[in-house]
């Protein structure tokens, strides 16, 4: 699946599915309190299963500067 990290450098990362949002966050070292995951305009809870063809947008919640 294609994962786009929004804000900052707008990095796009390829990740092999299927896996849950929680597993994806762990794999990318993004904590769930600081990020929201969106698929086709829908905000996702950590248990949602993502497939290989999905396009995921990751929003960073923390403001006050970007470190990525």
């Amino acid at each position: 699946m294609q994962v786009r990290l929004r804000g900052g450098r707008q990095e796009v990362i390829q990740v092999r599915g299927p896996l849950t949002v929680r597993q994806l966050a762990k794999q990318l070292d993004l904590d769930l309190e600081s990020h929201l995951f969106v698929r086709e305009g829908r905000v996702l809870t950590p248990d949602v299963r993502l497939g290989d063809d999905d396009q995921i947008e990751v929003y960073r919640a923390i403001s006050g500067g970007t470190r990525r």
Binding site: R6, G7, D31, L32, E33, S34, H35, L36, V38, R42, V43, L44, T45, P46, D47, Y59, A61, I62, S63, G64, G65, T66, R67
Partner: protein, 313 residues
């Protein structure tokens, strides 16, 4: 995950409330948090006109959107700091939002007011852009609020902002800041009341609000963003939050209830008079803004004189 209230598919989980919500139920939860903050802390009344300080970012636009769509009379204030591309796009976002929502937006342009952009002011008085920016924003916010005679100025500070500021103030034992950190700063001698209606909502929740309401906020940050420390504090608090949900809320609310009163007693607020030059409230005869501005003008004159003599190239 299923919504705790209605059983529909949830869009967001809130471990600190041991809950997950669908979109309508999350918006209800959000509304309850804001309403409680406003009424418990007596921020303003329903008929009061409130000035919302907006930057184009998620928190301030979420706040303005919520207040306006719940019937609160509002006016937006955008301060154009003259920070190159960032100011241009953030101003555009605020103007587009105001237009789409049919709301009144006041724009104060620092370059028009002072003759300099904020970074140019900072360079002339040899201070950081952020410290001059803070001063300029406080000054024009208060001046505009007085001119428009609003009941209060509301800012989009969220739980993460407040908890991380508190952590910083505790780590450095900033007694004066600890005495005054509060979701309401009452009006005093020319200072307009300041309130933070989103202070019990996390940054992740204000972001979710914007995404669910389709608010077109600016994701990019100011290039001067202090980064390092304030972000580090937020990240540290979020690590604690993941292990022990509710930590940020307990830290901040516990401080407000149990610790702050003692700090306030020990550090009474400074006495305010009116600035001799501009009439805005000040602890000194001439306010910090007027002193900064005359310093910048002097630096500029000195520079121009040398240039005319061919001294500097």
């Amino acid at each position: 995950m299923k919504c705790r209230r209605c059983g529909e598919v949830a869009v967001i989980d809130l471990p600190r409330h041991n809950a997950a919500f669908c979109k309508p139920c999350f918006l209800e939860y959000f509304a309850r948090q804001v309403q409680q903050a406003i009424s418990k802390f007596r921020m303003f009344a329903r008929h009061h006109r409130v000035m919302v300080a907006v930057s184009g970012g998620k928190d301030s636009l979420a706040l303005w959107h919520w207040l306006a769509s719940h019937g609160q009379p509002t006016v937006g204030l955008y301060i154009d700091l003259g920070i190159a591309e960032y100011s241009r796009v953030s101003r555009e976002r605020c103007e587009a939002f105001a237009q789409r929502m049919g709301l009144q937006l006041e724009v104060v342009d620092v370059r028009q007011e002072t003759g300099f952009s904020t970074p140019a002011l900072a360079a002339r008085v040899r201070r950081t852009t952020c410290s001059v920016c803070g001063l300029v924003k406080r000054y024009f916010t208060n001046r505009t609020a007085r001119r428009l005679q609003v009941a209060a100025v509301a800012t989009g500070h969220n739980l993460d902002d407040e908890a991380s500021t508190l952590l910083g103030n505790v780590l450095h034992w900033q007694m004066g800041y600890l005495a005054r950190q509060h979701p309401v700063l009452p009006a005093a001698d020319g200072l307009v009341r300041r309130v933070k209606p989103l202070f019990t909502l996390t940054e992740r929740e204000t972001l979710a609000y914007c995404l669910l309401q389709g608010i077109d906020f600016l994701e990019e940050e100011c290039p001067h963003a202090r980064g390092a420390t304030s972000i580090l504090y937020k990240e540290l608090l979020n690590r604690l939050e993941l292990i022990s949900p509710g930590t940020k809320h307990q830290f901040l609310l516990g401080f407000l209830r149990r610790a702050r009163p003692s700090f306030s007693q020990a550090e009474p607020p400074p006495e305010l008079g009116a600035c001799r030059e501009c009439g805005e409230p000040s602890t000194a005869e001439v306010c910090a803004y007027c002193r900064m501005l005359s310093g910048a003008r002097r630096a500029d004159d000195a520079f121009a004189t040398k240039e005319n003599k061919g001294g500097i190239t």
